[in-house]
Symmetry: C2
Subunit: 344 residues, 2 copies
């Protein structure tokens, strides 16, 4: 089933019309506070300047920029949440400096080029919903040469993980006989096929379930990356298992980095399982069945991320991997299309 | 958007192809153990008899019936989970007494009429997914005169409730200024409209959030109710508030009762908030805005449940209510059609 572009966009923009997603994003302290801090730390580069906020949502980043001294902020938002952004701008008495523009960044007309682009464009597994394309479009069309992009770098990581919840769920069917007197252990294999499927599952991975140091497999420089390059983001990885365990799958997560004039390293917004939780959680990719590893077992391969053929906003992740002495395998994952799914 | 019947059925039956829903149902101890106990207590009426299990799923109720001495059990299941039921029947060495039949009860041909119909047909808010129609069809076509139906009675209840989670979510927007220095309090009104909408929300209601004794508003006798009567299940209710609070909405829940030869009252499977949790949770219907009540404030009205015009398997609930001195209001609720919804 191939969705036409208009239908895809309608579904995409509709999903931001509900308050829940905005509540989740604002309540995500790691996200919102890192943006706030990054904007404050860049106030020297923002003061008196013109800013474009791509996909402004409720406009909170635009307000941060105005508070950091921006002369003018264009808050571009395609969804009806723009109406709330207008109210919030007025409530904070910033209507002279923030202009909320309802429309897509690809179609809106700004009165002038901008000095700064700020955007919170990251989706699940970084690229799901691919709003980054809109940021790159805005960069090429509206950013002055030498302008600032916040954030300016994104990095992708992978690590093998075990998943005790999946293990419990597969074991559950062996417990039914004791509980109800019916042997349902044969369901465990069916459960494995249902649970360890090709969906990209968004979950919080616990630190103790990460089985090796994560490996960085890709880096995107937002000043130079092209939309064409986003059609295939890939890289190799090589991990060594910490100890004896069973690999249920891989976890993929990202960081984005804000350059800061006063900080060599930049400010990092991380969605790592080793850092405080964010609403992005981690992307979990299950193998077809758990694979045992020992200490220092090599887990290596290549990850490739690309847009789904059915819907360009949906990401697919292909993992080509070898675990220890096992032969190389490939599994392709995608985010389930909830819009075509039956209800429970 | 009106789904054609075939598409509706495909979506409906597909949703039972995943292990998760079956795991949830089997793991629901209240559900599975009440059926097990009811079948055991009726073993005198089941022993040596022919049983029809409508919508057998994994076949667990069929196994209970065989264990209670049934001569023959026809386990009718339309979804592919029937393949797992076949394996489970074999694993329990009951293949001589349980025949798994893949198909809908409306189309399958049984070799003989049955003495007993057992079915776990209850959906959210009892009637969502309206599998009860299939049970009534099976009763009229296959049940011998004087045959047994398990369960044989369903009752529906309503009570006014407050919802502290909704209150917290509406209050959240007033806390943003302290946290990030941006006044977003104007979002609270938008949040209220999004959250206190016309969806039937499935939630666990805490005992302390139920604001009056629940009122029973409808009763269905499975021996006599007709499909036509299911097209409008309604009744009046009258509740008196325990004390001062704010009514966020109503909670609707059900019980089903199994007659037992050894027990005057029958065995009750309850989804009441005052009883242990089940996977059915409770159906919560939000008002447009909270309404204050004091001790003994009268909350009364009429509830009507009917199939959605868009999809006969989807239930709508209309509540016509008066709270204290407020004027009478009507609000119509439905279960959101997740199959046409965008993903977050």
């Amino acid at each position: 089933r191939k969705l036409d572009k208009t239908r895809q966009d309608t579904l995409y923009f509709d999903s931001y019309s509900d308050v829940t997603i905005h509540e989740e994003m604002i309540a995500d302290y790691v996200r919102t506070n890192t943006y706030r801090t990054a904007i404050e730390r860049n106030s020297e580069l923002i003061r008196g300047k013109v800013v474009l906020d791509v996909g402004a949502g409720t406009g909170v980043l635009s307000v941060f920029c105005a508070q950091a001294g921006a002369k003018k902020v264009f808050a571009v938002e395609a969804c009806s949440i723009a109406e709330q952004a207008v109210k919030i701008v007025r409530q904070n008495n910033l209507q002279d400096r923030i202009e909320v523009i309802r429309g897509t960044v690809e179609t809106v007309d700004l009165p002038e080029p901008v000095d700064v682009i700020v955007s919170e464009w990251m989706g699940y597994a970084l690229l799901h919903e691919s709003m980054l394309n809109s940021v790159l479009y805005a960069r090429d069309k509206w950013l002055k040469p030498g302008g600032l992009i916040l954030p300016s770098k994104a990095e992708l990581y992978i690590a093998p993980v075990c998943d005790p919840v999946v293990e419990d769920r597969l074991h559950f069917w062996y417990t039914v006989k004791d509980q109800y007197g019916v042997d349902m252990s044969c369901m465990s294999d069916f459960a494995r096929k249902c649970i360890m499927n090709s969906d990209i599952t968004m979950n919080f991975v616990s630190i103790e379930d990460v089985l090796s140091h994560p490996a960085r497999f890709a880096e995107l420089d937002l000043y130079s990356v092209t939309a064409e390059e986003l059609r295939s983001v890939k890289g190799h990885f090589r991990c060594e298992s910490f100890g004896c365990s069973a690999v249920s799958g891989f976890c993929v997560y990202f960081t984005v980095t804000f350059t800061c004039p006063d900080k060599q390293q930049g400010l990092v917004l991380s969605t790592s399982p080793f850092k405080p939780d964010t609403h992005w959680k981690q992307a979990v990719l299950y193998l077809d069945a758990p694979v045992s590893v020992e200490q220092d077992t090599l887990v290596s391969g290549e990850v490739s991320m690309f847009p789904s053929e059915d819907s360009a906003r949906h990401i697919c992740i292909s993992v080509d991997f070898t675990i220890g002495e096992q032969k190389r395998q490939t599994k392709i994952f995608s985010i389930p299309d909830w819009s075509s799914e039956a209800q429970p």
